[in-house]
């Protein structure tokens, strides 16, 4: 059944490796850090300023999961909601490199690093996206790679580079 929600969005064939998507800045307030930590990550260094000072993070810092969540929210707004997304498959090489501290402003880029057809789902492709999230000083705070399913517009079409080239008869071509 055609999907009227995503019919006019970009499909697998419309993407290219190397495309860079900007992720808009977000300032992470103390209240945001507390609200997120209470729900998903209530460790002392995300909830208690005194305890945070003596922790490995040396001060109140957001949960790495919050950095990840805010990044995916930006990616949805600027990319995933403009393609025929069929859901996320997962993340690899997730690195929380530096903590996000109170009132840090995080932004970043998402770069399409690979595109391939799914082996198990003939009508789908997999877009691989490298995420690089930085703070206001330009320091990298989180990197990871996201794999996301995307609908193929014409699953039955054979890509040009997979069509064998048959030389016209009598033509010897270049000797190699």
């Amino acid at each position: 059944m055609p999907n009227s929600i995503t019919a006019n969005r970009r499909h697998y064939e419309d993407l290219a490796v190397g495309e860079v998507i900007d992720l808009a800045p977000t300032t992470v307030t103390k209240q945001m850090i507390f609200d997120f930590a209470r729900e998903f990550d209530p460790l002392p260094f995300h909830l208690d300023e005194a305890a945070a000072k003596t922790s490995l993070l040396r001060g109140l810092a957001s949960s790495g999961w919050q950095t990840l969540g805010l990044t995916l929210a930006r990616l949805s707004a600027s990319f995933l909601n403009s393609i025929a997304s069929e859901g996320g498959l997962g993340f690899t090489d997730l690195k929380w490199k530096r903590p996000t501290m109170v009132d840090d402003t995080i932004s970043g880029t998402a770069t399409i690093s690979a595109l391939r057809r799914s082996k198990s789902r003939p009508g789908s492709g997999i877009v691989t996206i490298d995420l690089d999230v930085r703070n206001q000083r330009g320091e990298s705070i989180m990197t990871m790679t996201l794999a996301n399913l995307i609908a193929v517009r014409h699953p039955e079409a054979v890509p040009m580079h997979e069509i064998p080239y048959d030389r016209p008869s009598g033509h010897e071509g270049a000797k190699s």
Binding site: S4, I5, L56, W65, S76, L89, F91, W96, A151
Partner: protein, 159 residues
């Protein structure tokens, strides 16, 4: 878990408990962190690849984090009740593989568990060790829906 690094046994499995994903919680999470129609619009999601609303994969992971933190506190309480001093944990430097293997739908109940795959003394931070922990979640049909491997810091005793 909140023990000292020396007291962690490789291969030990820690049950983290269950969590039921309600339709309202799936939508509330995704409106903030993953506002795609698959996760926020039950009607539109019927036209999508899963034939209905599914949870954001990241929500599945974050619920696992919350259950793990609750289990850390419970373990610390257990040790204190036994007259022992709990260990000190630190933040996670990341994860190598986080896989969403099957959709999580409204009403699904996931059972999470943590297995310590390995441990080593940190090269970069003196006095600390690094654990490699696998977290899995299976649904009420016994299907594996989530699997991830994370690193986390844990203090050495007396360091």
């Amino acid at each position: 878990m909140t023990r000292w690094f020396e007291d962690i046994n490789e291969g030990e499995v820690f049950p983290l408990g269950d969590h039921t994903f309600t339709r309202d919680a799936i939508i509330a999470y995704a409106k903030i962190y993953d506002p795609q129609y698959l996760h926020i619009d039950p009607e539109a999601a019927k036209l999508g690849p899963f034939g209905g609303l599914v949870a954001s994969g990241a929500q599945t992971a974050m619920v696992g984090q919350r259950l793990m933190v609750d289990a850390l506190f419970a373990e610390a309480d257990r040790l204190r009740a036994a007259g022992q001093e709990p260990g000190v944990g630190g933040p996670s430097p990341g994860g190598e593989k986080i896989e969403f293997k099957a959709p999580v739908r409204p009403g699904d109940t996931l059972t999470y568990s943590l297995t310590t795959l390995g441990k080593r003394v940190s090269n970069s931070i003196p006095g600390w060790g690094v654990l490699s922990n696998e977290i899995t979640a299976i649904n009420q049909q016994g299907e594996l829906v989530y699997r991830a491997v994370f690193a986390s810091f844990l203090k050495l005793r007396g360091a």
